[in-house]
Amino acid sequence: MTTFHPILKNLEQAVFSKDPDRVDELFQDKSITDLDHALIVNALTQGLETARKELGTMTVSVAEFLLSVDAMRQGFEHLKKLAPEDKDRPKAVIGVIKGDVHVLGANIIAGVMEALGYDVKNLGQDTDVEQFLSELKQSKASILGLSSMMSTTLADMKETIARCKRELPNVKIIVGGACLDENLAKAIGSDGYAASAAQLPETLDEIERLIDPKKTSRKYVDYDRKIQVIESS
């Protein structure tokens, strides 16, 4: 078992080059069953991380990035058949505020969070506060991500944040969307703001420090330290 097994490199490349068929093909290779689950996860998420960095430098467009997210998820689906799903991942709930139907941004963020090791429940478009609260309580998620593209739903976003904080004070809330910036995100009561998927890991680091300053990273890939193994909390 080695980090440099050619399948791993090929998986990483298949995700980066948005090629789900290639991901399928690689999972048909019997030698993949000999590899550590963690290394496969790492290869898939590194592929998306490379795409995310190129998204940050505008070398990759959002449409292309979405295809990389799909390729990574394809790999995760195969992995479920090879190994039991990791039930110990940190949980997050995300969704688009009621009144807004633009799900694209939330879907991208969900993909990046999955790559960072989170178990994400994406409630999709037009989600009201009761749905957010119910899912948060049921999943015991520690992070809530709220998205809104339209300025018309900002008042609802503010209300959703206030209500969630009142009922679940330990849940940390990050927001994003075309109508927001850092100042506005603070003004409506959020704990963090992600301008784009490119900025998300830093925002999540800050949020996790708010949740538990001593907590060791539970990410699949610790990008800051360039360690290619899963850490335990």
Binding site: A63, M150, A178
Partner: protein, 384 residues
Amino acid sequence: MQIRKVIKSLAEGKIPQVGYLPDSLLDSLATISSYRGKISRLTSLERVLTTIRHKEPDRVPVAPLANAVARRIIGVSFPEYSTIAEKAADVFTASVDFVGADLIVTLLDLSVEAADFGQEIVYPEQSTAQPNYLNPLIRDVDDYLKIKSIDFSKAKRMNEFVKLCEIMVNRMGFKTLVSGFIFGPLGILSMMRGANHFFKDCLNYPKNVKKACGAITETLVEFAQAQCDTGIPALAIDTLFASWNALPKNVWEELEGPFAREIAMCIKKNGGVVGIHNCGHNLYFDAQIRSMEPEIISFAQLPDDCKTPQEMKARYGDYITLVGYIPTPILVNGTPQQVMDECKKQIDILAKDGGYILAPGCEYPPNISLENAFALVKAAELYS
């Protein structure tokens, strides 16, 4: 023939189609206005026409794009605003009378065209009309091939929109320049498919998407023609997908570029001014200019080939009139003074030698107070 049309418009008290006038005449008129602007106040029309000929008017023209927000001045609901031309016209008129504007763009919402192609639209009381993405017209990639051009005479919302343009052109006369609006074919398809699938389809099934673009564009050219027939002197095409947060540049040029051009050429043939609106990030000014040869670009973010607004002004400012780009979050959350400070910053960089209209990067947020729209107008008066 073209001069006759110009004379007819003038006789009817409408702004003539400037594209029918020779450049030398327009430049001379702009030069005269620019000089006159140093000693006296220009009209809104003079101000806008001077700046789009890249001469400095008496002050920076301003377009607060206070569209749907002005419903609240006269008590019109969102659904009425979206679907009844007379109501919408009253809203735009209230916006001009109450807030002020040198230029208005008759953008209602982005669902007008998709509704007529058969997409189910919801009309919330407290928000702009939007597609029901749980019931998309295009459910799989083969459905693109089923999209056909439609009988324009039966296109209810587009015809209502044309009526709005007609009312506004007649009502505004020489007072304020009115621009029509048209959503590009990719945007319309996105409304009928949902952005998440649509983005991927553009990369995975470009032939299907392009075929649908062709069919839709046939109707859009009719829509553009009908708007031009009302005497509207300018028309903005929204090509949102020509930006990094949508498609790669080459894909946009392949999929929408030729169709956007057809619409733009229809406007130009009618003597109209071609504008582009695109509130995407890192938008492709160069590709859009190649496609549509616009006179005006309204934007919310810098183009992909410019790192600073100074660079944008240097690269594009001598032949494109830049419209923008006060950020939405500042309008929502900023104080009037903060808005005015941002306006001043942009005026200082972009207004020199004309070719600039102060405006929000996108429509003024419909559900907030109007005080920051007033701040925009005041900034144009104070800081030019």
